[in-house]
């Protein structure tokens, strides 16, 4: 149905209040008497059809624009002309459908609401017998009260709007590293005033090889396009996004956040995956023999298992491909190392190599998360191999990228860029990944330099593949689409497979191969890189503190000055980890116990999901150059870092609307401490205010105690938390408030079951409640694992007064899983003995039924119905779970709590970024900085 001709009576079919109906009629009268039909409404923007036009209407109060005409365009790349076929706009209650039909194509877009965004699902069908080169676009002409100030083209930096039109053509940003791939833009573009902005784009990780963004200050028109090559008869699906955003706190970041909130599934990662939510081992478990307790204490969940192959492109190491002429002379020795053993690739026989590889992986891969370094994300192949077997995959026609590297992944070969989707290489590569997963029992693959911005024009583009675009050289596909295709493939190999990726692509764990201390590089890469990562876990793969590099004149320092410099550096690393939600690796942790101390909080916040927008105002007196927010809705965490030398105090004002997508929830916060804390909150309109005290150079965290919906304009509340390992209790006392009917929500805490109570009576989260001053809201969390207190573990007789191991581990001899997991206690005590915290390295294993549950005995049971760690009546400890993995996990958690009883600080030692001569000079070998315990 064409909107302009729709009968007004149709409105009667839509349930509307009288006042709304009046408003609609008034609005219709106001815009040339054109009727407004169905609309897509989100909390911040509405898309409506007015006559035969589409209009975006701001729903944000006091923004810089109120209305914007939204046009769809379609450019024909072959004729070089815009197709002028008329659009038909069809309205439905929650959808607007736009159909453009020509004589040999149809282009239909269905717009609907996705959280705060307008989301368009587009379908283009080429009914002709020729391939079509199209460039569909969106144009939004907003009625900005004055010309917006900032244009964002999707890359990391915004530009000021002047008189000249601004644009970004193609998705190729700055070159990243030596491999020549490019930075990719976030798939959006926007124009922003001081208060609000408008933005257009498409959904993240869509297979788009070309997009462009424009802003014309002359017409105030924002334009966003995508290019596709469409086969005859092909039906192509792609997406659009449009939105309105408050720019009070962030501009581009606020757009990114709307994408996160609208498409959380695009960034979602398995919360139960054991490999990705902690640190990565930075080769220490790959090149060295893994140390189980070092790995556990430093929380190294996986490792980047680098180049476990002889020839790039042949990860399987086929017999017929094993012997070939390496191009680089053997003088270049970049030894491959498996757990401390050097592997001389020039000399080793295939059989020996494969046996060694199989043995190492089978032994360590699952336990230490050895991610098989998959040939640079399938984008490089040894030159002769590619020429002979995979010529169709060679990608060497993009004039602005290098294609041949004479010393790359293995160093002993020349490697050429290849394309892994729809090519012979891709087919083999996928098959090899599958075979290796089974053969080596792999937990996942490591994809290095997994970026895009390099166009493949080879023969595979003729196939029906996603992301086919066109330019003056012809049809091409961007490399990132092939890499994302491989990431998707990894997930199909078997459940739980991890894609550990160094790049702006899909993946389960993302690597940032830069150092925080290299501020110029950080400024270049951020925030764009982080926007891509979003709420996914991410790790930094850097060079440690780079002490000698940062302080060229370190020999001029005294030991005290060294300690001061290192303390500040460590605070810098801690603050940046919280700022970006990224975990650093072991070179940062030796000698600096604070960086290890923050693990639980850092990991918890990172799991909640880093936010690109932190809608928080700080009083001027509050000095917090480092800050970040995590989570959404009622699950919010705030981080503040005062890098100055003095304590800083002032008011924090949290804009609840932006944190909760205008849900009406009002958040109540409490300072996040390990044993609990108290915080007075004041709700004032949409803001929650509280007074923050930020000590010098200490991370300060806040967490939500509860969310109150339909709260009055003014409320005063006092939030308290009380925590132990078995139970956490959050209470919120309403100090001042008029009586009102509202509802309450509480946070989900991982590993705990929650009960919400009002004045001691259990209530259902979200249910309507009468609330008034004096009411007490309680969120009680009970651990699903621990049924004992920390003090019970701390006081358990693991060792006697002389540090002799005095506990015993009991398991049923028939319980093989328990017997296996019991070995971990030997690893634990061996570490303690090595560190002189215990006298013996072994614990006695017993199976006498009489000793089960006895005093001083730790009973392991892998056949229990559910996980449980508790004290037995006789004074023993029970560790029960269902199955080996669950029991292993429970023991892991127990060990974390035992570490409180047996703390160990890893002293300074020679690691990347902190050389031996520095430590020697300052006499800091085997010493460490003080542990500050700022969350206790």
């Amino acid at each position: 149905m064409e909107a302009g001709s729709a009968p007004l009576e149709k409105l009667e079919g839509i349930k509307m209040s009288k006042s709304l109906r009046t408003k609609v009629f008034a609005l219709c009268a106001g815009i040339l008497l054109l009727p407004v039909y169905g609309a897509v409404t989100t909390p911040s923007v509405k898309l409506q059809a007015v006559g035969n036009k589409m209009e975006l209407v701001s729903q944000l109060p006091g923004g810089d624009w109120q209305k914007a005409e939204l046009k769809m365009e379609l450019f024909d790349g072959k004729s070089g002309k815009f197709l002028s076929d008329r659009a038909q706009i069809t309205d439905m209650p929650d959808k607007v459908i736009v159909q453009i039909s020509g004589k040999d194509y149809t282009y239909v877009t269905e717009f609907s609401a996705r959280n705060e965004l307008i989301y368009g699902k587009a379908v283009f069908t080429n009914n002709s017998k020729e391939e079509k080169w199209i460039e569909p676009g969106l144009r939004a002409k907003a009625d900005f009260s004055k010309t917006p100030e900032i244009f964002w083209d999707g890359f990391g930096k915004t530009r000021k709007i002047g008189k000249t039109p601004l644009e970004r053509k193609s998705i190729k940003g700055v070159t990243l590293e030596h491999i020549g791939s490019k930075e990719l833009p976030f798939p959006a573009a926007g124009a922003f005033g001081k208060k609000s902005g408008i933005h257009l784009g498409h959904v993240i990780f869509d297979p788009v090889s070309y997009s462009a963004a424009f802003y014309d200050p002359g017409t105030n028109e924002l334009r966003f396009t995508q290019r596709y090559a469409v086969h005859p008869g092909e039906t192509l699906n792609f997406t659009w996004v449009a939105g309105n955003v408050s720019s009070l706190y962030e501009n581009a970041g606020a757009v990114v956040q709307q994408h996160y909130d609208a498409f959380p599934e695009k960034w979602a990662v398995d919360q139960e995956n054991p490999f990705i939510w902690t640190n990565h081992a930075h080769y220490s478990n790959w090149k060295m023999c893994p140390d189980p307790e070092l790995t556990r204490r430093l929380k190294m969940g996986c490792d980047w298992a680098y180049t476990p192959y002889k020839r790039a492109g042949d990860i399987l190491c086929r017999e017929e491909l094993w012997d070939y002429k390496m191009r680089n002379p053997p003088v270049i020795k970049k030894w491959l190392r498996f757990s401390g053993q050097r592997v001389p690739m020039y000399e080793i026989s295939r059989d020996d190599f494969l046996e060694m590889r199989r043995k190492e992986y089978r032994k360590y891969a699952q336990r230490y998360g050895l991610m098989f370094y998959a040939n640079c994300a399938g984008t490089w192949c040894e030159l002769d191999l590619a020429k002979k077997y995979y010529p169709d995959a060679i990608s060497d026609q993009d004039p602005i990228a290098n294609h041949l590297l004479k010393k790359w992944s293995t160093w002993h070969d020349w490697e050429i860029r290849v394309f892994s989707m729809g090519t012979s290489f891709g087919e083999t590569f996928k098959s090899d990944m599958k075979t290796l997963t089974e053969e080596l029992d792999l937990p996942g693959f490591a994809f290095d330099c997994a970026n895009g911005g390099v166009s493949y024009y080879g023969p595979a583009v003729k196939k029906k593949l996603p992301g086919r675009a066109w330019d003056e050289k012809g049809v091409f596909i961007d490399q990132s689409i092939a890499v994302n295709d491989l990431v998707d493939f990894i997930h199909t190999i078997r459940p739980g497979m991890v894609a550990f990726c160094n790049g702006q692509i899909k993946g389960d764990l993302l690597m940032f191969e830069r150092d925080f201390v290299r501020v110029d590089e950080l400024a270049k890469m951020m925030p764009l890189y982080k926007w891509y990562i979003g709420g996914r876990p991410s790790v930094v793969h850097g060079g440690g503190y780079r002490f000698q590099e940062l302080i060229a004149n370190w020999r001029n320092l005294s030991q005290d000055e060294f300690k001061e410099v290192m303390t500040k550096l460590s605070v810098y690393e801690i603050f940046n980890q919280f700022k970006y939600g990224m975990a650093l690796t072991f070179p940062i942790h030796f000698g600096v116990p604070d960086t290890v101390y923050i693990f639980p909080e850092l990991f918890e916040l990172r799991r909640a999901g880093w936010r690109a927008n932190m809608p928080v105002k700080l009083e001027k007196s509050l000095y917090a150059p480092y800050k970040a927010a995590y989570g959404r809705n009622e699950n919010i965490f705030l981080f503040f870092g005062n890098s100055g030398t003095e304590k800083s105090t002032g008011q924090v004002s949290v804009d609840n609307d932006q944190f909760t997508s205008y849900s009406g929830d009002r958040l109540v916060f409490v300072k996040k401490m390990r044993r609990g804390n108290t915080l007075a909150n004041r709700i004032r309109g949409k803001f929650t205010n509280f007074r923050a005290i930020l000590p010098s150079r200490v991370p300060v965290l806040y967490e939500t105690a509860c969310a109150i919906n339909n709260a009055p304009e003014k409320m005063d509340l006092l939030a308290r938390s009380s925590k132990d390992i078995d139970r956490e209790i959050y209470t919120v006392e309403i100090k001042k408030s008029p009586e009102f009917t509202g509802s309450l929500k509480i946070r989900a805490i991982r590993g705990f079951d929650a009960v919400l109570k009002l004045n001691g009576k259990e209530i259902r989260p979200g249910s309507a409640q009468k609330l008034k001053a004096g009411d007490i809201i309680t969120a009680e969390y009970k651990s699903r694992l621990f049924a004992l207190k920390q003090k019970d573990i701390t006081n358990f007789p693991f060792v006697d007064g002389k540090k002799n191991v005095s506990c015993k581990v009991w398991f049923d001899p028939m319980d093989k899983a328990a017997a296996k997991v019991a070995e971990r206690f030997n690893e634990y005590f061996k570490f303690l003995k090595d560190k002189k915290l215990a006298r013996q390295s072994k614990v006695a294993f017993v199976s006498d039924p009489a000793l089960r549950g006895a005093a001083g005995v730790i009973t392991l049971d892998s056949r229990a119905a559910k996980e449980n760690i508790s004290l037995t009546p006789a004074g023993g400890m029970l560790v029960a779970a269902n199955g080996e993995k669950a029991l292993d996990n429970a023991v892991d958690k127990l060990f974390d709590r035992m570490d409180v009883r047996f703390p160990y600080i890893f002293p300074f030692k020679s690691v990347p970024g902190m050389q031996q001569d520095v430590l020697k000079f300052f006499k800091m070998e085997n010493k460490h900085l003080p542990l500050r315990k700022f969350f206790d």
């Binding site: 940062l550 060229a552 004149n553 001029n556 550096l569 605070v571 603050f575 100055g644």
Partner: protein, 381 residues
């Protein structure tokens, strides 16, 4: 015009010889001072904090900036160590494997200016991160277009593989400066670096933008001139016994920026191992010959060039009158030269001295300093 320039040099130099040289300091960034030396002929700048970099060389008689002043910036952060940086410019010492972004933060030990010249003495407990206490003396003598840099490097502990390096960037003119590099034939490698190999000795004249020319030095110096024919030669020359060390084991090169008109003069000394307590005294000079357009030889403070049948002699300091002995295979001759002041060029018409000007010519300058005149070589592209 040349006469006017010479006159200006004479006026400036004469005035200064009779007056005090000056040395003044000013704060330019948090914790960083810049010192300005002046002897009436040269005004130069030095930032102790930035490895004692010498920059801003200004020829007062010519009103000509030979080396732009360094724009030094210091960033003070709450948490990160103080950071400083500058665009590549000036003359300073480096060490291989030390990032060029780093500096030795010298402090000033003494600053003296009198009628003999201006001298700044700097000290650092370490040379970059190497365990070498370094005293650096920068002297601008009165009435001279030369700067002397003397370093005393004392190893606190055993120092291995210390590769000392002089990095000098000036701008003699618009466009890419031409480097003049005395080149030793048939040497392919020095200090693990591949070298440009020539089958004959000579002065390599390099201004080819995308060509890397690393040379085994025939002489202990390298120089730069305008590539557009403007007069003036700026040379960096290693003095003392280290001159032979450089020739026998070091190398020289000019690094060029691929787009910008940046062409460096780099002198890399052979790697050195120092025992604990060992002292290494190293001296180099920057000599400026305002009247020359090219350079074949440096003899003491004299710069010597040959253009066809004319031998050109200039001095970076005020010289005394003497005799130049010229020698060729079949004979020799003595030519009297007057005392020269900086900026002045004395020309010898060889046709009047030698029967055959195509014969290879060597000579001895007053003060008994020998020189030869290697031929100019263009590097192969």
């Amino acid at each position: 015009m040349k006469k006017i320039t010479t006159l200006l040099f004479a006026l400036c130099g004469g005035a200064v010889l009779a007056a005090e040289c000056t040395l003044t300091g000013a704060n330019i960034a948090p914790g960083s001072d810049e010192y300005t030396f002046c002897n009436g002929i040269f005004s130069i700048k030095c930032i102790p904090d930035a490895s004692g970099v010498i920059s801003g060389i200004y020829s007062i008689p010519e009103k000509r900036q030979l080396m732009d002043p360094v724009q030094y910036r210091v960033i003070v952060d709450d948490l990160l160590p103080r950071r400083s940086g500058m665009a590549p410019n000036g003359t300073r010492e480096l060490a291989r494997r030390v990032k060029v972004e780093n500096f030795t933060n010298y402090r000033v030990k003494s600053a003296v200016a009198d009628s003999k010249g201006a001298m700044l003495e700097l000290y650092s407990r370490a040379f970059y991160s190497r365990d070498i206490a370094t005293t650096k003396k920068i002297t601008l003598p009165a009435g001279a277009s030369k700067i002397t840099v003397a370093l005393e490097m004392r190893a606190h502990s055993t120092v291995e593989n210390f590769s000392f390096w002089i990095n000098s960037i000036a701008n003699m003119d618009e466009g890419l400066d031409t480097a003049l590099m005395p080149l030793q034939k048939n040497v392919a490698k020095r200090c693990n670096s591949g070298l440009y190999v020539s089958d004959k000795d000579g002065i390599c004249v390099d201004n080819v933008r995308n060509l890397a020319v690393n040379c085994a030095p025939l002489k202990p110096w390298m120089a730069r001139v305008s590539s557009r024919g403007r007069s003036g030669v700026m040379a960096v020359v290693v003095r003392g016994k280290d001159a032979a060390e450089l020739i026998n084991g070091g190398f020289i090169f000019g690094w060029k920026h691929s787009i910008r008109d940046l062409h460096t003069n780099e002198i890399i000394m052979p790697e050195k191992n120092m025992k604990k307590g060992e002292v290494w005294n190293f001296e180099y000079e920057m000599l400026y010959f305002a009247g020359l357009k090219s350079l074949r030889s440096i003899a003491g403070d004299f710069g010597i060039d040959r253009q066809g049948d004319t031998l050109l002699i200039a001095s970076a300091t005020t010289s005394v009158p003497g005799t130049v002995k010229l020698k060729w295979a079949t004979g020799s001759a003595g030519v009297k030269i007057p005392g020269l002041i900086p900026g002045e060029v004395f020309k010898i018409d060889l046709k009047k001295v030698m029967p055959d000007t195509s014969a290879e010519l060597t000579g001895i300058m007053p003060g008994n300093i020998a020189f030869d005149l290697p031929e100019l070589i263009s590097p192969r592209k």
